[in-house]
Symmetry: C2
Subunit: 246 residues, 2 copies
DNA sequence: TTGTGGCATTGAGCCATGTCAAGTTTGAGT
DNA sequence: ACTCAAACTTGACATGGCTCAATGCCACAA
């Protein structure tokens, strides 16, 4: 099932910050950054490193919400299903993303690894205690939740009111800015997700996604050397389309 | 880094809880409930009762986010606009709703009173201080944000994947459960919002909303004595349609 | 080299929803 | 009671995106 990382040692406390949190390269961009070095050992006790194979569902909607997750490597799709199989992807999550906020006792969405994924798992009850003891952590989580909420509202605008072309442009622009400084957007994308994922994220069908990519290509806004590679030839124009300007 | 818990007061606590928060009928269902009676005076100092006329926009997207709001009376629409006027309503907010969570320094949505509205306004910087001093308040806010997030994800599923009929059914079922104990859903609705609001909330046009209402009426799932009055004749069937069962 | 299976692309036709255009109902004001 | 404007409903038609189906493009295994 899961593969625990090295567990805190039994003898002398380590000189530096304890494993695994102390050396976690993702700490600087994750919620864990809210915790001081001196208290990091408490976090490390809670943290449970897990590897998830590509294609594995590790959060299932309606299941008891037992854990929080923090992604350290790979990409994940978050989604909801209708009984007949229609799927809405509510977001993609990469390194640094925090998952598992839920009001009720059960998860309200599913999560599936797109690539092989490494993540940190925290038991919810123990995490709650941490939140209680470290208001700064709670504050960070509130920021994360607020941020997710803003993204969700933006996505509602996209799903409710934008055309297929505008949706694709919005998607590409968002990917260009994802995880890089905002003044240095990417111009070459390696999409981890398939056309079907994109379709289910944008409320379209595979065919419409494919056709719309072809149109953007014909309009010289993008180039597709070979999927999943996409080059943004004119980011400004794409941004204009995404924002529905003109 | 981390914050001491609430500081004891300097003088004798007042006999009763101070105005206006002490007598606020909405306190029991709002975030303010996270604050003890004895500290409520600090909240009252921050709170600023405001009346907003129907039709008034009191939060404008992109404006500097100076305040938080807590609605005590009336109904509000929250929305985002595209440059050409296309509108997506991201939610309706009634008594007890908390508004203004934002990541950036600016609001990411607009808010407009549908009916005459009474609300409590809190300055953001001073509210931040309160959050710092009262972790319980921060916790409550995190719950609010998580809850909003769950709703937003549900709405993405609706906007991305549901048919017009399923959207309307979902909307009606949600209104039936809004603000009442979950085992006692309403069966008679007084909708505060117009067909246009409903359309902009569900990602449809007025005409489709109207036609779909008519079909639901023909199918004996609802009755419309006269808008904005709607009677839910068969809530179970509506729920089945909303969930896309069968 | 030749399958084989998973994606992705493209075409043809259709349909749910949008658009445009009348009408109808409602309610507030006089 | 009448008027007017705003909200709602309904019909006829248009269309963007969906469905169904064929084809193309790899990577990989035998």
């Amino acid at each position: 099932m899961n593969t625990p990382r090295p567990v805190p040692i039994l003898v002398q406390p380590p000189i530096a910050v304890p494993e695994p949190c102390g050396t976690c390269g993702m700490r600087s961009i994750s919620v864990c950054n809210a915790i001081d070095d001196i208290h990091l050992i408490r976090l490390a006790e809670l943290a449970n490193g897990v590897d998830v194979q590509a294609g594995r569902v590790f959060i299932t909607e309606q299941d008891k919400a037992t854990d929080f997750f923090n992604i350290t490597e790979g990409t994940v799709r978050l989604f909801k299903l209708l009984p007949d199989g229609r799927r809405q992807i509510t977001g993609f999550a990469g390194p640094g993303h925090f998952l598992g906020l839920a009001v009720s006792a059960n998860y309200s969405f599913s999560a599936e690894a797109i690539t092989d994924v490494k993540l940190c798992r925290f038991s919810r009850p123990r995490m709650r205690q941490m939140l209680h003891d470290f208001p700064a952590l709670e504050e960070t989580l509130l920021e994360v939740a607020s941020n997710d909420l803003v993204c969700a509202q933006e996505q509602m605008l996209l799903l409710g009111r934008k055309t297929a072309r505008e949706r694709l442009a919005s998607f590409l622009v968002a990917r260009a800015h994802d995880g890089v400084p905002s003044d240095m957007p990417r111009t070459r994308l390696h999409l981890a997700m398939t056309r079907e994922d994109i379709a289910d994220y944008l409320g379209l069908t595979i065919e419409t996604v494919s056709r719309t990519f072809s149109k953007l290509k014909a309009d010289k806004l993008i180039a597709i050397p070979s999927p999943p590679e996409i080059i943004l030839l004119n980011l400004n124009a794409l941004q204009a389309v995404a924002a529905a300007e003109k």
